[in-house]
């Protein structure tokens, strides 16, 4: 059973990485087709450089193919430059994690447990931190090494990303990211799994460079 516990946690960590990767599109205001992309890179970096904070509630729709059923969850996403992040589910169960520099803390209200972690001692969280930095710094070289991109539409901008990593590709068929009409932020992230299930995250009220509450990066009481 210890093995099971480890594997479950390991899988959750890998999933977090995938979701972080997609959700950190927040830090990228716009992308384009292959030709457009190169023209937009400068804009991307310029826009990312002006982003100090990001925050938004989100709705997560999990579609279970075998039951033809949608499961709704709700949460909150907060980022502050250069290295603070809060990813939190509020319903159906309060859970999430906070990352500050190379240290973080997870929580889950079901188990009533908090768990500290360090990116130096936790390879999974170390990888998450690497991705955070990549997106905060608009490291598109890193992104293009990891995904093959397709432009689905340009108005609004919708990108489809196919993972290149065999491990990730064995689990995720593709990601689809939709931007706001003014290309200022991501409005939807769709993750389609190989088995036909999918997860759609809709960011419902994105605030850019808003003042964050003092406890934005503190673990909530539960």
């Amino acid at each position: 059973m210890d093995c099971l516990i480890f594997l479950l946690k390991d899988n959750i960590g890998r999933t977090m990485k995938c979701f972080l990767l997609t959700c950190l599109f927040f830090m990228i205001p716009v992308l384009g087709s292959a030709d457009e992309l190169s023209n937009l890179l400068g804009e991307l970096k310029t826009a990312a450089a002006t982003t100090e904070t990001l925050s938004s509630p989100f709705v997560q729709e999990k579609y279970l193919d075998i039951f033809d059923e949608k499961l709704l969850s709700q949460g909150q996403f907060v980022y502050r430059k250069p290295d603070q992040l809060r990813w939190e589910l509020l319903s159906p169960v309060a859970s999430g994690f906070i990352l500050q520099g190379d240290k973080g803390e997870r929580w889950n209200s079901l188990s009533h447990e908090r768990e500290s972690f360090s990116v130096k001692n936790d390879p999974v969280m170390g990888m998450i931190a690497r991705q955070l930095l990549a997106w905060a710094q608009v490291d598109l070289d890193w992104l293009q090494q990891r995904y093959r991109m397709e432009l689905v539409t340009s108005e609004p901008v919708i990108l489809k990303l196919y993972p290149l990593d065999p491990g990730e590709a064995g689990f995720i068929h593709h990601l689809q990211v939709r931007f706001s009409p003014d290309n200022s932020h991501v409005t939807e992230v769709l993750m389609v799994e190989q088995g036909g299930d999918s997860t759609l995250i809709r960011f419902t009220a994105v605030k850019i460079n808003a003042t964050l509450p003092p406890n934005a990066f503190q673990v909530p009481n539960f």
Partner: protein, 221 residues
């Protein structure tokens, strides 16, 4: 001094075992149902198909694992199909459970290697939702505000406790082949059936506790 050490050791050991929560049954009413009424009243024997979204906390010794689950329960055909997900909604495994078997439809590669995963989860689901079930041949006892059906099994007993609303509240199995208890709490009415929104199973032999909180209920037509 040795008594103190023993006491401390017992306290430490007790802290590592998942606890069995106390169960409050209503006391201000009389249980008057017949055996036939008790058997027909249970949602588990009424032949419906239910779709249940649930939160799960699995406790193995001192370790706690929170999960989300979606369960399709076919009480007529005595089948349960569980899709277990992590907190991000990623499917960890998909398991079909029948009265006497189970089939792991899919699982993430890492879990496919975990010996006994499907069997262990299936056994818990079976005990909670499928069997053993009370029977007309069980012995019947009326205890004012609660009622009991029970039978002898090899090495012990199997008993079912009902409250004065005829809701099944406890299944207790203690015998050669196992030592476990399922508690059904917080009954609510859905489509003229009463379903428990909290279910807690304790497997004393393996120090495992499984808690389910049902958050969404849909009847399938």
């Amino acid at each position: 001094m040795s008594r103190i050490y023993v006491l401390l050791l017992l306290l430490v050991l007790a802290g590592c075992v998942p606890t069995t929560p106390s169960q409050q049954l209503p006391q201000d009413c009389s249980a008057t149902a017949s055996v036939e009424q008790l058997l027909s009243h249970s949602w588990l024997t009424q032949g419906g198909v239910w779709r249940l979204r649930q939160l799960t906390l699995l406790e193995i010794g001192p370790k706690k694992i929170p999960l989300e689950g979606f369960l399709r329960l076919d009480t007529a055909n005595k089948q349960a199909r569980l899709v277990a997900m992590n907190e991000m909604g990623v499917v960890l495994f998909d398991l079909l459970v029948t009265e006497d078997g189970q089939q792991l439809k899919r699982a993430i590669p890492q879990l496919q290697q975990v010996k006994g995963l499907a069997t262990g989860v299936a056994q818990s689901l079976r005990q909670i939702f499928l069997q053993p079930r009370p029977a007309e041949s069980d012995r019947f006892e009326n205890l004012d505000s609660r009622q009991k059906l029970w039978r002898s099994i090899p090495g012990g007993y199997l008993r079912f406790i009902y409250d004065c609303h005829s809701d099944l509240r406890t299944v207790r199995f203690s015998g050669d082949s196992g030592d476990w208890r399922v508690a059904y709490n917080d009954y609510q009415t859905f489509a003229e059936s009463r379903l428990p929104l909290e279910i807690v199973m304790n497997d004393y032999r393996h120090s495992v506790k499984l808690s389910l909180w049902i958050r969404e209920v849909k009847g399938e037509k």
